[in-house]
Subunit: 135 residues, 6 copies
C-alpha cells in the first residue's frame, strides 16, 4: 500500500514543505500508529496539497492560520511555520498573517503563535529585528 502513487506524491510534497520537521512527526508515529502517518502523507500531502489552484505558499499561509485559530497546536505550528519558510514565505508575511487574524480571534491566540514563531526564527538564525522595521 505504501508504494502507491498517492503515497509517493505525498512524500514529495511533504519533503518540499516540511523537510526534516514533518518526517520526524511521521517517524515518531512508527510502532504506535503508522497508519496515521500514512494518512497524513497520502491524504493531507498526497491528495490535498497536490491539488493545484493554490501554490504551496498560499497553502502554508492557510495552514498556519487554521492552526493558530484552533489553538493547542504548538507542535504543528512549529512544523508549519518552518514549512512556510521552506516554501518561500518571508518572516514578515508569517507575522503579518497572524496579525490579520487579530480582529477575528483576539490577541491571546496571536500572542501564542508569535511565541512559536520567535522560537522558529531563532532556531533558524533569522534576525527578525533587522527585517521588520516598523514605526
Amino acid at each position: 500500500m505504501k508504494n502507491d502513487e498517492r503515497y509517493q506524491k505525498g512524500l514529495a510534497n511533504l519533503e518540499k514543505v516540511d523537510r526534516e520537521g514533518g518526517k520526524s512527526v511521521i517517524k515518531s508515529l512508527t510502532g504506535l500508529s503508522e497508519d496515521v502517518g500514512r494518512y497524513i502523507i497520502e491524504f493531507a500531502f498526497g491528495d490535498v496539497y497536490d491539488r493545484g489552484v493554490l501554490d504551496l505558499k498560499q497553502r502554508e499561509m492557510i495552514t498556519i492560520t487554521t492552526l493558530l485559530t484552533q489553538g493547542d497546536t504548538e507542535p504543528q505550528l512549529n512544523v508549519h511555520i518552518n514549512g512556510a519558510l521552506n516554501v518561500g514565505l518571508m518572516p514578515e508575511e508569517i507575522i503579518e498573517t497572524f496579525i490579520q487574524t487579530i480582529p477575528y480571534v483576539g490577541f491571546p491566540k496571536v500572542l501564542n503563535a508569535i511565541t512559536v514563531a520567535k522560537e522558529v526564527f531563532k532556531d533558524r538564525g533569522i534576525d527578525f529585528t533587522k527585517t521588520n522595521r516598523i514605526e
Copy 2:
C-alpha cells in the same frame, strides 16, 4: 472621533472589501452599539487591513480561513466570501482555501463553509459548475 484618519482609512478599506455587505453590518449595530461598528472600522479595517506586506486577496484568504476554523460564523463568512470575491479571489480559490483546511479541522466545518459559499455564489449568479471542472 469619527472623523479621524483611522476611521477614514478604515472606511475606505471596508468599501474595497465588503461594499454593501460590511456596511449593512455596521448599520445594523447603530442604536445598539455604534462603538462596536466604529471599532471594526477603526481597528480591523483602519489599523489591520491597512498594514501592507499582504495584499487584500491574501487578507481575505486568511480571514475566511480563520472564520471557517472557529465555527459559528455563518454571517461573517457570508460577508467575507463576498469580500474575497470583491477583492479578486476566484471562486475556485475560495473553495480550494476551504479544502486546504480539511486535514487540520476535518470535514464538518468545511462542509458548513461550502454551504455558505454556495449561497453567495448563487446570489451573485456565479455558475460554479462551469468554472470548476473536476474529475
Copy 3:
C-alpha cells in the same frame, strides 16, 4: 429524588434567574431526558448558583461571557441575557460585557451575541437607543 433539598434550592434559583425562559428549557426536555433537566436544576442551580461569594448579577455576567466565548449557544444566550436582566443587570452592562471580550475573542462572536441581545431587548420592549447615548 426530585424532592430533595438540592432540587428545591435549584428550582428557587432557576426562578430568580430565568423565570419562564429556564422553565421552558426544562419542560422541553420532559419525555426525552428529564434527567438532564434535573441535573441542570440540582447541579447548576442547586449547587453552583447557590454558593454565595458572588451575587446573581455577577454569576449571570460570567455566564453570558462563557456562552459568548464558546459560540454556538444562541438559545442559551437568549435565556441568560434574559436572566441577566431579571437579576438586575442593565442593558448597557450586558452590551459592555460583550465589548470587554473583543480583545480576547475577536469581533464575530461579539456580533453574534449582540444580535441575540437585540432580539431579547426588542422582545422585552427595551428601547436601547434611548439608554445608550454614545459619541
Copy 4:
C-alpha cells in the same frame, strides 16, 4: 479515480451508516466541489470506517461525541444520529452518550445535541417517552 477500491469500500460503508442522509450530503456537493464528496467517501468511509478493531456502533458513538463537542455541527449531528440508529444504537444509548459528556463540555452543547436528536427521533416515529422510563 472514482472506481478504485477505496471509493467502492467507502460507498459500501456510507450506505451502511448513512443510507439516504449521507448520500444527500454527497449529492449536494456535486457541481460545487465533488472532490470533497469523494474525499469523504474515500478517506472517511473507505479508509477510516473500514479499519476494523471497532464496530460501526462504536464508530458512530465516537462520531456523535466529537460532533457534539466541537459545536456548530447541527447538519452533521442529524446525519450521524440517523447513522447511529441505522447501525443499531438504541435511542437510549444515543441520549446516554450525550449525557456522559456533560461533565466535560457542560450543558449547552448537550442541550443542542438533544434538540437535534428529538427532531431525528420524531422524523423516524420513535416514541422516546415509551422507551425511556426514568424516575
Copy 5:
C-alpha cells in the same frame, strides 16, 4: 455532606475508573477548592457515571473522544487514557478511537492525543509495537 450516597457512589466509580490518577487530581484541589473535587466525585462520578445503559468501557471511550476534541486537555486525557485501560479497553481500541475522529477534527488534535497515549503506554510498560501489527 461528604458522606452522602452520591459521594460514596462517586468515589466507588472514581476508583474503578481512575485508581490513583483521579484521586491525585482530587487531592491536588485540597485547600484551594475542595468543592470542585467534591462536585467531580458527586456529579461526574456519582450521578453521571452511575447511570447505567452504557458500561464503563463505553463511557471512557466517549470521555477520551470529547477530551481529544476540545483540545488543551492533556492532563485530563492522561487520566482518562489510564482510566480507559483500567476498565478494560485495549490499547488498540484507544488508538482506534482517536483515529475515528480524524475526519471530524483533523490530524493535529489526534496527533496530540496519540502523544499522550504514548506516554501512558510507556509508563505502564505496554509495548504497543507488539500488539499493533499494521501493514
Copy 6:
C-alpha cells in the same frame, strides 16, 4: 504614533491592571512585532478597558472567564489572574468565577484554570487554605 492619547490612556490602564506582568508581554514582542504590543495598549487597554460602565474588577472577571473558556491561554490567564488581584478581586472571587463556569464548559477547563491560579497565589504568597474555609 506611540505618543497619542489612546496609547497613553492604554498604558495607564495596563499599569493599573497588569503592572509588571503586562509590561513583560509587551516587552517580549519588541523586535518581533512591536505593532501587536501597540495594538494591545491602544485598542485593548486604551479603547476597551477605558469605556466605563463596568469597573476594572468586573472587566477582569469577564476577561478570566473568556480566557478560561477558550482554552490554551495559560500565559494570558496567569497575567489576568494577577491583574484581577491587582484591581481588587479576592482570591475567593477568582476561584468562584471559575466554578460558575462549570455547568457551561465542564470540569477540564476549570481544573486547568485553577492550576494556573494555584501558581499565581503561591507566587504572591497567598495562603488560600486560610481564606477559603469550605465544608
